[in-house]
Amino acid sequence: MNKELLKGTTDIMILNLLKKEPMYGYGMIKEFAILSKGTFKFKEGTLYPILHNLEKKGLIESLWKQNPGERKRKYYQITKKGISTLEERSTEWEIFQQAINDVLSYE
């Protein structure tokens, strides 16, 4: 998958993933691979700068916690601001996607 195509869409995908439940970095990567049927494979370390940036913007928040039988991990969860941003960005994305489809289906 072209890196340029992923740019600008990773934020929205992360926010959508965290809407369901708090997750940690490694779990997110695995979930992305499953949901995209292996299409979204990127260098795993590059996820963390994006997560930290979203946290700085107040769209997600993090906490260290330890589930039974697991080691201590940093979990991320979406904030109220994150949910409203996700809704706005999803609408924008749908419009954009529709426009691209319309242009590409032109013969």
Binding site: G45, Y48, R71
Partner: protein, 291 residues
């Protein structure tokens, strides 16, 4: 945290160091290290379950993580660099201002005694140890903020060590400071002017704290981009560089490399660039691809 890093594989430690080297502050780098270690451990365990040996699993896990320099640099937020630049400028003014005010008050209180001059030199010496030499290269941050050319690599200042000469000067001036300080305290008690003494202590302590804070805020020293090198705000195109020379040096008990950039006539274009051990390989391969 440090003991944890010591327990991890050397390759992982090197990877973490490379990431950390590109991150704005050491505190931020430490916070991120824990998270990255967890991710690499998860990946390694998964690969071992798939049948890889421990050694192979670590190598493959690090490959999957990506380029550590790129990961580290991605944490660098241009807004943060801009704010840091402003903060450094403010702290520098505050530090120098406080020091001048402190010195003037000290001279006035002690009626221009030679001991007070000794103490002033002592304070300047402390400031020299903790921070003045870090007050360089803010021009590079300006470039980083204004240019659209995304850097390939940022070369941070090599970690500063306490210079032996400053310690010696400090030791020489210590008795003067102790004598002078004791005299000042006794005089203040006698004259019932303890508030003056407290004021002086607050002023000098604040000056030292501000200088310490400046030292903690790292800003890029050299920037490597696709188009060329930025050294102290000056852009040097790859085409202007004819050759480079690496000099190995033993700088303040740490193995570092000195890079000399030469023009067509073989003359150095800039002063020698100090590159730390863990950034050497990366810088060397970038340069050999372009020069």
């Amino acid at each position: 945290m440090n003991s944890e890093v010591q327990e991890v594989d050397k390759r992982i430690a090197l990877f973490l160091d490379k990431v950390g080297n590109q991150i704005n502050t050491e505190e931020e780098a430490l916070k991120i290290k824990d998270e990255l270690i967890d991710h690499i451990d998860c990946l390694t365990e998964e690969l071992i379950d798939m049948g890889y040996s421990n050694d192979e699993a670590i190598s493959k896990a690090l490959m999957q993580m990506g380029d550590p320099n790129e990961i580290g640099y991605s944490f660098t937020n241009r807004d943060v660099v801009r704010k840091r630049n402003q903060l450094i400028r403010m702290l520098r003014m505050l530090s120098i201002g406080l020091l001048i005010i402190g010195c003037v008050i000290l001279f006035v209180f002690t009626e221009y005694s030679t001991e007070s001059l000794g103490s002033v030199i002592y304070f300047f010496n402390i400031l020299n140890i903790v921070g003045f030499s870090s007050l360089t290269s803010h021009t590079n941050s300006k470039y980083l903020m204004n240019s659209e050319d995304i850097p390939i690599l940022i070369i941070w200042p090599v970690k500063k060590h306490i210079y032996v000469e400053y310690i010696i000067i400090g030791i020489i001036f210590s008795p003067i400071l102790i004598l002078f300080g004791t005299g000042l305290v006794l005089g203040a008690i006698e004259d019932n002017t303890l508030w003056k003494l407290i004021l002086l202590i607050i002023i000098f302590t604040s000056a030292i704290i501000s200088t310490f804070l400046i030292n903690k805020l790292r800003i890029p020293k050299y920037i490597v981009t696709n188009e060329g090198l930025i050294v102290l705000g000056k852009f040097i195109s790859w085409t202007a560089i004819n050759n480079v020379r690496w000099l190995n040096s033993y700088y303040k008990n740490e193995n570092t490399y000195m890079l000399q950039i030469l023009d067509n006539r073989g003359f150095p274009i800039t002063r020698k660039i100090k590159v730390s051990n863990n950034q050497y390989e990366m810088v060397s391969s970038i340069i050999s691809e372009r020069v």
